[in-house]
């Protein structure tokens, strides 16, 4: 099954990249605030049970995909 893991910096963690992009958007005249930049990971995970696949994706986040000091993830089974 296709799994999409969205990794975001936790609230409160400084995101200088987001800040720079926000300033860039302001430069074009866009009204925008709280720009945060994250990472999107897509993968194919064998199995047909969405709950079970999600559990395995969570384990992948815990082991490697996410650093809990600074990031949090949301998992979507498509």
């Amino acid at each position: 099954m296709k799994v999409r893991v969205s990794v975001q910096l936790k609230p409160g963690i400084l995101d200088p990249q987001g800040k720079a992009v926000e300033q860039g958007l302001h430069g074009f005249g866009f009204e925008v605030e709280h720009v945060r930049i994250g990472r999107l990971i897509e993968m194919e995970v064998p199995g047909s049970d969405a709950t079970e696949v999600k559990t395995r994706a969570q384990a992948m986040c815990d082991k490697l995909l996410v650093n809990p000091v600074m990031e949090k993830a949301s998992i979507e089974v498509l």
Binding site: I13, L14, P16, Q17, A20, L64, L65, N67, V69, M70
Partner: protein, 232 residues
């Protein structure tokens, strides 16, 4: 004294580590390829060098932390062996959960290379015992991700247990935001684990040890290690 220097694809300070430990200090220093599963016998210090292991993919140090040799580095540390991680080596030790925290992108978003001053916060460690608490020494930094970050609660724990080994400071030893080059919380440049045998730092003491190449502000760390080993 035997030193092992794990080498990952993308390590680029491994030769600085080999030069400092081997040529300058005269220690038996052995590079160890990341695919190895065992450190050389009788390794006393593991020096995890700087660089861009695995191209900094995913997060700095995240992939190197999973390399086969790292399991034996953990075993070495669990048995009380010394581990020094510098720059990317520090990032690897954090990702391997051998040290708390994470190194985020510098506040300025820029790669910074500069000489900085560090204040010794702990002079009772194998890495600092030849220095005095409060002593200031000058070493270079060269990194884009050195912004040390930790949850507020864990940061308070780290501070209260004396986990901070080095802090960025002015040449006179004053602490303050203006002396922190990268945004690191509490001006933290280097930390040590609870047991005191695993130290990670962003600045490069191994690049400031050879008078033929320039200033030698980093020698205190190596003299400390020499002292620690002569007493062992």
């Amino acid at each position: 004294m035997r030193v092992a220097v794990p080498v990952f694809p993308g390590s680029n300070c491994d030769h600085d580590a080999l030069h400092a430990c081997g040529t300058v200090m005269g220690w038996d220093t052995i590079p160890v390829w990341h695919q190895e599963t065992r450190l050389p016998g009788n390794t006393e210090l593991v020096f995890v060098p700087g660089g861009f292991s695995y191209g900094d993919y995913l997060r700095c140090g995240a992939i190197a932390a999973l390399a086969p040799i790292m399991a034996d580095v953990k075993r070495h540390a669990d048995q009380g062996g010394l581990v020094l991680g510098v720059c990317n080596g520090f990032q690897i030790l954090c990702e391997a959960q051998m040290l708390p925290g994470a190194l985020l992108r510098n506040e300025s978003l820029r790669f910074i290379h500069a000489d900085v001053h560090l204040r010794v916060e702990r002079a009772d460690l194998p890495f600092t015992r030849a220095m005095r608490a409060g002593e200031v020494f000058q070493v270079p930094i060269a990194h884009a991700e050195g912004n040390f970050t930790l949850d507020p609660g864990d940061l308070a724990d780290l501070e209260s247990r004396g986990g901070v080994a080095f802090r960025y400071c002015s040449p006179g030893g004053e602490i303050g935001e203006t002396h922190v080059p990268n945004g690191a919380m509490n001006g933290i440049a280097g930390i040590v684990n609870l047991r005191g045998n695993v130290l990670g730092m962003m600045p490069h003491p191994e690049r400031a040890v050879d008078p033929k190449l320039g200033p030698t502000g980093g020698l205190g760390v190596f003299r400390s290690l020499a002292e620690a080993f002569s007493r062992a």
